[in-house]
Symmetry: C2
Subunit: 537 residues, 2 copies
């Protein structure tokens, strides 16, 4: 049964009426004024059932609820990343979840089709943000007095992509971005951003990562010396970008057959993009006279030389792999580009291409749990993006370099390693209980409220059973369920003498006897006990 | 000039080509392959100028960027509210920013027209969430194993309302919600939620607030005994709800002229809704035989009696005003309803109605800076909402009671009292500098990188100037600008002896001489110094 919105709205009212109509007195008034309403009210229960059945009770495709231990683990990831960002002098900004549609237009190349548009309900045309970089560039263009900023931003972005939940690819997902904007001496901020990448992942307990690094100018130079027409560079570059998902043979096929690149040009590109290494690769490229005669490549190689000296000073050279196959999809990069991958998800090297009977999809299945996770952090330099928005000359040049951590992917890696049963969903420290008996026993509800309030005001988190006369067992079970480490027990006699018992919980056979504490000194006592427990664990 | 998306996209490419075309060698290749591309590249600068001029560089109507000190202050508000929520045993969940459209349909009465819809781009029809309550109810219905939860959620919601930025009314704004779901003994969770309201506002430094409290069942009873037809209750209730914005005379006019209520009925309502007080008002109502003979009113009054005893135990009775004029707009409330207002924004009482020459709009202007801020936190009990979504009988009854803090309004109150100049936007603790001179002086960039990395790894936030040979003055100015409290100075000679100078900053005339510290002991030394500085402030 398909029902209109109007019917649902009137039903909502009817459901409320229905409640009242069960009271005899109300029903009298009810009849007096509106027989129709009575009928509506009686129909409400039936209709309501039909409504609930025709509802699809779910979140939209590619989105999910976060709750319980997953939520706690994700919050920890955010906290860790935020503290790394702050350590590097970052300040945070918050931009709206939607932007004027024209702000996003023309920034994402082919992927623009993945942008979520808001319906035209009169007024401005808007779209949900696709990333945090374009809104940041728009913010800088709007605030030309900001000539230098290190900003971080943890927020959700939206892409109408085909979801692959198991691989951590969602339509609504978090990005954690850190960007350095401003005119500085070449490669210094770039090196700090790489340092943040390494530091962030290490802080998250991820050790087996590699930062694949390349430079758009070098890549452009390679394409030029290999004979790629300049108008075709982006197309060929996007084919190279697929090398982490398919073997060279398939990429070559795409270049030559789909994109009409001469076979010799493709083969020459193939020789370059298989190269990877560190400073040694730089030395190799510097001996390549043809490449060095290309101004773009020479400039990129000079940048990389400087960058490598800073990387060495930071002591992260072992984490960096200069990799000529890295191209990155987005249009707006103009300098270094990089992606952090975990070792197990590194691109297929020679091995898989040898066994041609094995399809790429099969490969995905049998390597490791991390495969398909793709890059877990990535970024690059984009010196032109802010200028695209700028209306004043002053701010028209605003070089930027940044990094974005992909939280959903990082989450699935960390969750696989974590003992989730040890995570408490709840942070309650104290369970307030009352024990007593006999005919006179009130259950001490008011007293429990008073003591709880005292604890809350002392900054201690506390809960109690929402029952006026709870049994001891019920209260211990409730405390146990949420894992509260301490109980404050209001005994009938002791409380009247101004005392409560403080007892450590969860000790099993070595159960704590508890200690009588004067109510006035309760907060101090509990604070000290919690500190001791924290230091022990 | 209006240009198409397609043109913008091709331009983005052209702008990139344009960069390369300025390199002579690249330009040669360029010419060789594509004369058209050269023309496009040359046109790019001109076109780009036109594009940027036709852009409206702004955020969508009713939205804003948050940055700098405002952002720090707002984060503090979030932290304070979160810690109060955690103290009461709250766990957090995160739901998607958009929901299936049918989930939101029929929950907000007349205000449904304010819902933002996503464009139909194929697939499901979705809308941006209007509040956090309906998504929470949907979450509970989807997770019937959760029979009890105290959940909090701080997130943005969306309403296509007429923005009034100065009053803190936005189209995108934050709500901070805490809700208790589950079947418990009557009024205990209700009292804790009121306690959280009082505790939250007090923790935020807001003292002059009042919690206006009423009960839907009492209100329904009043309408019944005053002769409002049951089918008209919501309409009359929404007129009463306007009493905080307009005088009784106007509300009465709306009831009688627009909504056809007999004058006697309106006058009788008028006698009730002017009543407010505490337990005394309860006693008064209990002596009203007509009202007490109404089952709904009697049940509500019984609830309130129990509630008042818990409020007294929590010691917040002075903050609560039992106010029969409070109606609340939303359909889904079934029990207590309440709103926290600051004293200065309390509703017009008798006074303004006496002076009939003064229009309500004039009143808004001359009272205080808080006027028009409206309620800063509000909520109530909604026992039927989850059931509207539930597909199983088990979870079809899920009573809930909650509170929502309106952060934008709280922000404007706190900001007005705060000395914003004392807020640091940045949390950088250490500025790493290098001093040296002479021909051999390298500027110690690599050394500064090394020392900074050492501090970061020690958990200390540090910055340095992105310049290879910075002057001392430049470095002190940069440190001063961000308000870093400590400098670590790499002197040419000292550094070679394995030492750096640690110096406290911002002391003006009592400038710190600094202390030489072995590099190996730097992290420990700085940590201790920062701790001392923190304790001093």
């Amino acid at each position: 049964m398909k029902i209109s919105y109007r019917q649902v709205i009137s039903l909502t009212g009817a459901v409320r009426l229905n409640i009242c109509s069960s009271h005899p007195l109300v029903a009298t008034v009810f009849k007096q004024y509106s027989t129709r309403a009575v009928v509506r009210a009686k129909m409400a229960r039936k209709e309501r059932k039909e409504i609930t059945q025709q509802f699809t009770l779910k979140t939209p495709k590619g989105t999910k609820d976060w709750a319980d231990r997953d939520m706690v683990l994700r919050s920890r990831i955010f906290d860790t990343i935020t503290s790394v960002f702050k350590r590097h002098g970052g300040v945070t900004i918050d931009t709206p979840v939607f932007e004027l549609r024209e702000i996003l237009a023309g920034k994402y190349g082919e992927d623009s089709k993945l942008i979520y548009d808001l319906q035209d309900q009169g007024g401005e045309l808007c779209s949900l943000r696709y990333d945090l970089t374009v809104p940041f560039a728009r913010f800088l263009a709007m605030n030309p007095t900001i000539q230098q900023i290190k900003r971080y931003h943890l927020a959700k972005v939206y892409r109408r992509d085909q979801p692959a939940m198991t691989k951590g690819r969602m339509r609504e997902f978090y990005q954690c971005d850190f960007d350095i904007a401003g005119q500085y001496e070449s490669m210094i901020p770039d090196s700090e951003v790489l340092c943040i990448a390494a530091e962030g992942l290490t802080a998250l307990g991820i050790e087996d990562f590699v930062i694949k690094l390349n430079h758009r100018k070098i890549l452009d130079g390679i394409f030029a010396v290999c004979g790629v027409p300049l108008g075709e560079v982006r197309k060929i570059s996007s084919a190279v970008d697929k090398l982490d998902k398919m073997p060279w043979e398939d990429v070559k096929k795409e270049m030559t057959e789909e994109k009409n690149l001469p076979v010799e040009a493709a083969d020459k590109i193939g020789e370059y993009v298989k190269l990877k290494g560190g400073v040694d690769l730089l030395e190799l490229l510097k001996q390549d006279d043809e490449l060095m005669s290309n101004e773009s490549a020479a400039a990129g190689i000079k940048d990389m030389e400087v960058l490598f000296s800073y990387i060495a000073a930071f002591g992260i050279e072992e984490k960096v792999s200069f990799d000529l196959s890295l191209a990155r999809g987005l249009d707006y990069y103009t300098g270094i580009i990089y992606e952090c991958v975990i070792s197990a998800s590194a691109p297929p090297s020679e091995k898989p291409t040898k066994d041609k009977s094995q399809k790429p999809t099969d490969m995905d299945e049998d390597v490791s749990e991390y495969v398909g996770v793709g890059s877990i952090a990535a970024g690059g330099r984009y010196d032109e993006l802010v200028g695209m928005f700028s209306q004043s000359k002053k701010s028209s040049v605003m070089p930027c370099v940044g990094i974005s951590f992909g939280v959903e992917r990082i989450f699935s890696i960390i969750k696989a390693k974590e003992d989730m049963s040890k995570i408490r969903a709840n942070e309650t420290e104290v369970y307030v209980m009352a024990f007593g008996g006999g005919k006179e026993w009130t259950g001490f509800l008011a007293e429990r409220l008073k003591v709880s309030k005292q604890l809350w005001e002392g900054g201690i988190s506390a809960e109690f059973l929402y029952k006026s006369k709870p049994k001891p067992r019920q209260q211990f079970d409730a405390a146990d369920k949420i894992g509260a480490p301490v109980a404050v027990i209001l005994g009938q006699e002791e409380y009247e003498q101004g005392k409560v018992k403080v007892k450590e919980l969860g000790l099993g056979e070595n159960a704590d006897e508890g200690k009588d504490v004067e109510i006035e000194k309760l907060v101090d006592h509990v604070r000290r006990l919690l500190l001791t427990l924290k230091q022990q664990s």
